[in-house]
């Protein structure tokens, strides 16, 4: 048959419904969409779990050695790859605000690095003043830029508000004030947010934050702990990713796509046997089926890709493109399996199927 005629036949089949057009469109869309949707959401869920772990402070390791921490060294750790922020802290004299006269609040001296670890945005060096916890801020209404008076008559500026939710983490900073300090004195603890590498992996290097004016031998062994261990000791994204049965699901999708195409063709086998009998070449039937499939595949694929785009965005803490690409891969795999079946299944069509069929009825 002429190629234009094959295309005409395909379009007539689609437009008259002889292609089982509705079945085909529904099946293609369903398969494409479920594979793409599942895979992309799985990736997003992993990102969300990772983000939750991180938000809860699971990725923060605390090296504790009272009055032995070099604040400058501790801040400098954040320049190491795999450590996103780090900073040192030391408890100092408590602070009493005139607005809350009965309550002496814990006050901590922190390094600039610690402020950025708390606020997860880098500290603007021009802003000076104290950092207050979210709980304190909501009780008093103080925000960044507020001027507050202390019970001893002095005043102070609020440089920022930090979140410190009670999500299972150490609560010492939950209702407290943190004041950026110079590096001159030694600190008690160095907090290290190591991400995305697991906090357990790099502990040895953390010991570089110890100041050792009197020689390392005199020092007590520092303790190392996790800020919040309620979500597990570590979050290994790649390990979790490896555990997702992507390959098994892909094989399943290939099987489903392949067999739905086979069913699609097989339910039309009399039509094709009859076409073979009318003299149509098998290769032309295959080409016609590929065209029929593509005419529906393109809109179904586009719709799936658009939905996938939104799926990849919805509450995804990471860039959307990575989960979008995983979903796209599933769309391609399904389409490929469909095409393979379209090429393969017609090889089993036989003219004398017609004869057998008519004898059997």
């Amino acid at each position: 048959m002429r190629k234009t005629v094959i295309a005409q036949e395909a379009f007539r089949n689609i437009s008259t419904g002889a292609s089982r057009t509705v079945y085909l469109f529904f099946v293609i869309s369903f398969i494409l969409f479920s594979g793409a949707g599942w895979s992309s959401r799985t990736v997003v869920d992993l990102s969300m779990d990772a983000e939750k772990f991180r938000q809860a402070g699971g990725s923060v390791t605390i090296v504790s050695a009272p009055a032995k921490i070099d604040g400058e060294q501790c801040d400098a750790l954040s320049k190491t790859s795999g450590i996103s922020s780090s900073g040192a802290i030391r408890q100092i004299e408590s602070i009493t605000f005139s607005a809350l006269p009965d309550r002496a609040l814990n006050q901590y001296a922190i390094t600039p690095g610690f402020a950025s670890l708390l606020s997860s945005t880098s500290l603007e060096t021009s802003v000076s003043g104290i950092w207050i916890s979210r709980d304190l801020s909501s009780d008093t209404g103080w925000l960044a830029g507020s001027k507050v008076s202390l019970s001893d008559g002095r005043t102070s500026d609020v440089a920022g508000v930090y979140d410190f939710p009670s999500d299972g983490r150490d609560q010492s900073l939950a209702y407290a004030v943190a004041s950026p300090y110079s590096y001159s004195d030694l600190f008690d603890e160095c907090w290290i947010d190591s991400w995305p590498i697991s906090p357990q992996s790099e502990q040895l290097s953390y010991l570089s934050v110890l100041a050792s004016p009197d020689g390392i031998f005199e020092m007590e062994v520092p303790t190392i702990r996790q800020l919040n261990s309620t979500l597990g000791v570590k979050f290994d994204g790649s390990e979790k990713f490896d555990k997702v049965p992507f390959v098994a699901v892909q094989i399943f999708l290939i099987a489903i796509s392949f067999s739905s195409a086979t069913i699609w063709i097989w339910t039309r086998r009399l039509e094709f046997s009859s076409a073979l009998h009318a003299g149509v070449r098998r290769a032309d039937i295959i080409l016609q089926l590929i065209i029929e499939f593509s005419v529906l595949m393109v809109p179904a694929g586009l719709v799936s890709a658009i939905i996938l785009y939104f799926f990849s965005h919805y509450s995804n803490p990471d860039p959307w493109i990575s989960s979008f690409c995983v979903g796209l891969k599933f769309i391609f795999i399904s389409a490929l399996a469909f095409l393979l079946s379209i090429i393969f299944t017609p090889l089993f069509l036989r003219e004398d199927n017609l004869f057998r069929y008519f004898k059997e009825r």
Partner: protein, 205 residues
């Protein structure tokens, strides 16, 4: 063009002989009726002529046969496609363009009295119309051999009459035409009759 059957016998495994020592030859331009009671093996003999079934014994020689068209007892088409599309298909398959094929298909439909139905979908045709349509599609293929299996078995008198009229008009075409039938009107339309009763013989005789 010729088909020669020499001493052809057939039985399906574990079943009695259907027919034995069938010997005849058919040339192009001939229209032969195969008659016999139900179950005597008419359809089986057609499939042997087509080469789709190998006889248990005997020889089938085909010379100059390039293509075969069957018309089945139950016409089967694509429900949604038009009558015209059904007849155009074998012409398109031969490499004709759409408009040439449609012109030729309309000419054939006219011969079969179906021109007014050319745009109707297959599913809307009556049994007789569908049977005639499949006959015209088979003819459009210009086959060397046209095998027609019980074309009137499921039709009422009036529809059967139209089909028989069409079959009679086929006698001029340059093909071997073999019609399996119970219907004596159909038989009358043929130039020769092969009665399978003649080949159902005792092993002893």
């Amino acid at each position: 063009m010729q088909i020669n059957l020499t001493d052809v016998s057939h039985s399906f495994s574990g079943q009695p002989q259907l027919f034995t020592h069938v010997t005849f030859s058919i040339c192009s331009g001939e229209m032969v009726a195969i008659v016999g009671p139900s179950g005597s093996g008419k359809s089986t003999l057609l499939s042997i002529l087509a080469g789709w079934q190998k006889p248990s014994e005997g020889e089938v020689l085909r010379s100059g046969i390039e293509s075969i068209s069957w018309v089945f007892q139950n016409p089967h088409g694509v429900a949604q496609r038009s009558a015209l599309d059904h007849v155009s298909l074998p012409l398109l398959a031969r490499g004709l363009g759409r408009s040439e094929a449609d012109t030729e298909a309309r000419r054939i439909l006219e011969i079969f009295g179906l021109l007014e139905l050319s745009h109707r979908p297959f599913s809307s045709l009556s049994g007789g119309e569908a049977q005639r349509l499949m006959l015209s599609r088979a003819v459009a293929k210009k086959p060397s051999v046209l095998l027609v299996d019980e074309p009137t078995a499921q039709l009422d008198m009036a529809s059967a009459k139209t089909v028989n009229a069409v079959l009679s008009s086929l006698s001029g075409i340059d093909s071997i035409v073999v019609v399996a039938t119970h219907d004596f009107h159909t038989r009358d339309a043929c130039s020769r009759v092969i009665d399978l009763n003649d080949f159902i013989i005792d092993e002893s005789s």
